[in-house]
């Protein structure tokens, strides 16, 4: 267990901040998918 979590950085953000992170990540990955030409399955 210790090995698999080594280097982990605790975040502990609030729910609102976390929701913003999810939305931002979705937007970012959508851009990467589009730019890289990854086809939807």
């Amino acid at each position: 267990v210790k090995d698999r979590l080594q280097g982990a950085e605790l975040i502990g953000s609030g729910s609102q901040a976390f929701t913003k992170v999810i939305r931002a990540d979705m937007k970012r990955w959508a851009g990467v998918v589009q730019a890289a030409g990854v086809e939807r399955e």
Binding site: V1, D3, R4, L5, Q6, G7, A8, E9, L10, I11, G12, S13, G14, S15, Q16, A17, F18, T19, V21, I22, R23, D25, M26, R28, W29, A30, V32, V33, Q34, A35, A36, V38, R40, E41
Partner: protein, 284 residues
């Protein structure tokens, strides 16, 4: 230490979310076992994180938090179960980067990734490592990029499958470094790393803790880690931070299913974390 810090942070998160009050009586939650769905097979980082947290919550709250592995279909099975569960705080789940990627790579979604869930807290971030086969003539990210730019379309990267985090991380690397590594999909992240170990592929961007042993033994060469500028990954202190700052670290978070935010499970988490942080008495 790690677990307690995470729980205290969770309490803060819940307070922010529920300024209007708590829907559950202070002593009511959890009144029965809580199901913690991990949408991946046992043994992965999400699974380990869930088990560490569940054990701590069980000890602190006197109620069992049961990890329930529901792997398959890119997380659809497990997260779909959470989306359909009653929004009462008794079915929660872990989320990782793939949760944010899937809507972009799937034509049809069995749930709305934002509306159908209440996100409790982002627990931790694990750095990623850019690792290459040792026979490659590159010892830094800069040298690797130079080689890739000199031989467009001839160098490869391995992934655990199309649309996964290490696939898109490498595509982001392609875009950021202005190179064109060819995608070689494998069946799972472990197989992708093995593909680089065997020399079939040139590079994989993997969760750093999963490649420490191979890097230390010389079977893989780590060119950089996504710890951010100025930071080092303690397990591989000689590996510099990646100069490609756009690459994300791996994230793992607990989320919970709810279609009604007024009854979101995060309120239950408030109770849980209040106790774990010592503000409310523990159950005997």
């Amino acid at each position: 230490m790690l677990r307690l810090a995470a729980m205290a942070a969770l309490a803060t998160a819940a307070f922010i979310l529920t300024p209007g009050g708590i829907a559950f009586a202070a002593d009511a939650y959890p009144a029965r076992p809580v199901r913690v769905i991990v949408p991946f097979a046992p043994g992965g980082t999400s699974d380990i994180m869930a088990r560490v947290m569940s054990q701590q919550l069980s000890e602190q709250l006197g109620q069992t938090f049961v990890v329930d592995n529901r792997p398959g279909a890119s997380g659809f099975i497990g997260h779909g179960m959470v989306a359909k569960a009653a929004p009462d705080g008794y079915t929660i789940a872990t989320v990782d980067d793939g949760f944010s990627i899937i809507p972009s790579v799937k034509k049809e979604m069995p749930y709305d990734p934002v509306r159908d869930f209440t996100f409790i807290t982002e627990v931790m971030s694990v750095p990623r490592a850019l690792v290459v086969r040792p026979s490659l003539n590159a010892t830094t990210v800069k040298e690797f990029i130079a080689q890739a730019q000199a031989s467009p379309g001839r160098m490869t990267f391995a992934s655990g499958g199309t649309g996964g985090i290490n696939h898109l991380s490498a595509e982001l690397f392609n875009l950021s470094a202005k190179v064109k590594l060819i995608h070689v999909p494998y069946k799972g992240a472990g197989a992708a790393t093995t593909g680089v170990l065997s020399g079939e592929s040139d590079l994989v961007i993997a969760a750093a803790p999963t490649v420490v042993a191979q890097v230390k033994s010389g079977k893989l060469r780590a060119l950089g880690v996504t710890t951010g500028a100025g930071k080092r990954f303690a397990a591989l202190p000689d590996v510099p931070p990646s100069p490609i700052q756009a690459l994300p670290a791996w994230r793992s978070t607990p989320g919970s299913g709810s279609s009604d935010r007024r009854r979101c499970p995060a309120r239950s988490s408030t109770e849980s974390t209040e106790r774990s942080s010592g503000r409310l008495p523990r159950r005997s």
